[in-house]
Symmetry: C3
Subunit: 365 residues, 3 copies
């Protein structure tokens, strides 16, 4: 054994900088992940989820699923976490995501692998950074796509002298259109007394017909985020972005402390909005999302839902879709939230503004 | 999409008030729950349980179980949590429970559904609230009862002008009698060298014959409750009572902070009392229980056990039953606890007074 | 039921004191433990582990494993926890461990049982305590050894008048020699394009040939330990040493608070050192380990790795071994750590100094 110790920073992957992204390049993200019953139990413990589609095997099977499908957001967070080391480790900011499609159910035992293709590049006028657009796709062990989404991040340049790439900005849909929603054809509740089946399982009495465009639901329950809650969740998703974990380093950041991963807030809001949306089944799409303000341990999260649109689903006479706006707020009752957004931007207590689409059984079939 | 947003509180289920409970009515509680290996691992992580009946498949099978049965209290907390939205969401107080019977083992993969029948009603003289008595029954996916219990809660009236219902107060047993204890007939340790089997698995050397009525055991270990411990557990049980989760709202309550769910304290005490009761097998009954004082995050829980009664079990010559009083105290050594209860009520540091019955192998068979 | 309550301390096992250990005695530790998918998911959530060998079933199978093997350290912590009630409950200090061998993979569903043989005894000159050396062995449900290690602890005497036993101090290897490393023969990556297989799964591009003796890697990521993180982990391992759990009692100890179990720190460091060692497979041995300073909740842990030795592995042309020194530090960047140890002892911020050996694929085969 030698005595001389040489520091070798080269073994640590510094991640891609703006000039390292090449248009159309496909990046295969590492550490595929087999999802287990343990992940699903932890997801319940971390979020308080009660959706019977993800908690009751007989209920899931009565709808046509072979067994309990994994919660859509659990699968999404795990899939998303894989992209962090390659895409956003040097990000200045996560600017947004769009066109998030939930293509196939994920089951316990499935192994998810994610890759991303660079679909847009735009260097900023400062020359110090640029925006990278990627479409990420997650496949299961049979190489079938289960998730697909676009996100764009602002990334530092390392070498400011590198010439800017050709600017290409992809055209993104403002929401996932009906034609692009994947509702498994095997799912059917046609032959079943739907009202009875759902109400006794979900506890909810409202169906697709009962939701009206423009309706707002103030979900009453609030949930305080403990330091261990959000770090356990973020580690479970294997999202290793350091600002969620390293309190020592974050103490000298402008935030003064660890930030809660935005996906944790999305899952909390989805769980808190169960009351009022009890019969909603799987998430079909996330159309857009903004983390309007940061969340920290100690914050209590509440949720408001607005119904943005209602659609029938072709080939699914027993089911419709609801396009919903899910707004997360902190340390403030939903009843006190008047304007979510004003001319000067988001209300200071709004932490999440998410536009998503769920499947909802129809009453009359 | 319309612009006008209408607040629709009607989508939020406000829960039953006193006048909404009808004598003999059966309420089917929502969100059936499939129990997984993930739930059981989390239960170990949350409580420190070491009972080999629930931690070692070969040990469970050597006793005749088809596989490791789920911990009795984990099943109970999950079953109990389902009743909260329908029974106790508007409760002034949980007054007590009785006649809790553990009827059949619950295994991983079982799906539990719970219903409650109203078995008693008594409006209070103030006319502002009343006491509701319910018998709750939990069945597995084969519709076989696995758990049954009575509890009574004081519930607000919404409409003070509603006439009081006829007063009916059920007669409840002070403890679950021997005839009503369900010890699976397939369990037998007759042919096995019991002492060796148990001591090497449980680490304990005391059997049914070694426990005497009136004996007190001061369990030495203490466990401090972290904020995330009790909220993770309560979410795992899908008990959504808000006072355990919403620190922002609880700050303006008399408690000034979130309350620990009583079931969390019961499980901690049961786990802390492992040393001294190592060979106890399944819980056969909870005879009565009182949460004498509230627990908060930061409290350190200790446990004292008193032996209340010892019974032989018909048809089980290899096993007896012990009726135990499990007393939970906080921030105080069991050695310093003199009087659990005085004329003025419980000692201020007593948080739990639980009367329960366990199966215990007999030495001499 | 009798009224008189007798305190019976005898039911509580006080554990072995120095004079209770007998040379060559074999102690069978209680509470065998079946490891489940829930344990593995919790381990990911508690440590942030991303090693695809333990997270991806297809990757594990592509190497020849029948399914995903349980993380080596998870198995070790569970096995180790079993020895605490018998070996170290009356310990003054855990002095060290050596010759830790990982003999066979542990799979989900395996049940681990541990026994320890007393292999050395040395009463201290004070006559008040002595050092006990034990070799612990863990077997699975087929009675096949999966783990074996030596540790030595200083234990109080209860009866100071008891004569000292004959002093026997075992000869311990400074590291586990190549001949004693167990690399399963069924593991092979010969036929596979190794670089591609590993890099796309692990995200790492460095192989056995790339590591040089004397090289130091400063792992960039840090992880703050929350109170619930370390207590959840230690309960999961069923390690019931009270100083990790009982904050009320620890407030009057010199530490003033609960101590973090050393195994928690080992796992955190191993997980934090993933970046830079991505392609490392299973742990083959722990050669020696010292918990140089205590860790507390709130500490942020960072890790430095030094390459101590590189070995080829006989019969495994596709794989080599790396002997590594993993140094855990707290609340201090690895870049600022100059001298790990000086003449006066360890740097005050060093919490772990662990010497271990991993299998690492070779590039050229």
């Amino acid at each position: 054994m030698k005595n001389s110790i040489k520091y070798n920073p080269s073994k640590i992957n510094a991640g891609r900088f703006f000039e390292d992204f090449i248009m159309n390049e496909v990046i295969q993200h590492a550490t595929p992940r087999t999802i287990t019953a343990g992940d699903c139990a932890l997801y319940i413990a971390l979020t308080g989820e009660r959706n019977p589609l993800h908690c009751s095997e007989p209920f899931a099977q009565s709808l046509g699923y072979k067994t309990t499908p994994v919660d859509d957001l659990l699968a999404f967070h795990i899939a998303f976490g894989k992209t962090v080391p390659d895409i956003s480790v040097n990000a200045v900011a996560n600017l947004g995501y769009a066109d998030v499609r939930f293509i196939r159910p994920v089951y316990i035992g499935d192994t998810l692998s994610t890759s991303s293709q660079v679909i847009g590049l735009r260097q900023n006028s400062s020359g110090k950074n640029g925006i990278v657009y990627v479409r990420s796709t997650t496949v299961n062990q049979h190489n079938e796509p289960v998730l697909s989404w676009v996100r764009w991040v602002m990334v530092h340049k390392r070498d400011l002298n590198r010439v800017a790439p050709m600017t290409i900005v992809p055209t993104l849909p403002s929401f996932v259109a009906l034609d692009n929603l994947s509702v498994p054809t095997f799912i059917s509740a046609k032959k079943i007394d739907k009202k009875e089946l759902f109400t006794k399982n979900s506890g909810g009495q409202y169906f697709w017909e009962d939701y009206q465009i423009g309706e707002r639901i103030n979900h009453a329950a609030g949930m305080t985020i403990n330091p261990a809650d959000h770090t356990l969740a973020t580690r479970l998703y294997q999202n290793n972005a350091r600002l969620h974990f390293d309190d020592f380093a974050m103490k000298s950041s402008p935030f003064g402390q660890r930030l809660v991963y935005g996906g944790v807030v999305i899952s909390l809001c989805r769980s808190l909005s169960y009351e009022g949306l009890e019969n909603a089944l799987s998430i079909l799409a996330i159309n857009a999302g903004t983390h309007a303000n940061p969340s920290f341990a100690g914050d209590t999260i509440y949720t408001v839902t607005e119904v943005m649109d209602v659609w029938t689903l072709p080939n699914h006479p027993d089911m419709g879709a609801l396009r919903l706006r899910m707004v997360g707020i902190k340390n403030m009752s939903p009843d006190n939230l008047d304007k979510i957004k004003s001319e000067t931007g988001y209300h200071a207590d709004v932490v999440l503004d998410l536009d998503y689409t769920v499947a909802m059984p129809r009453r009359g079939n």
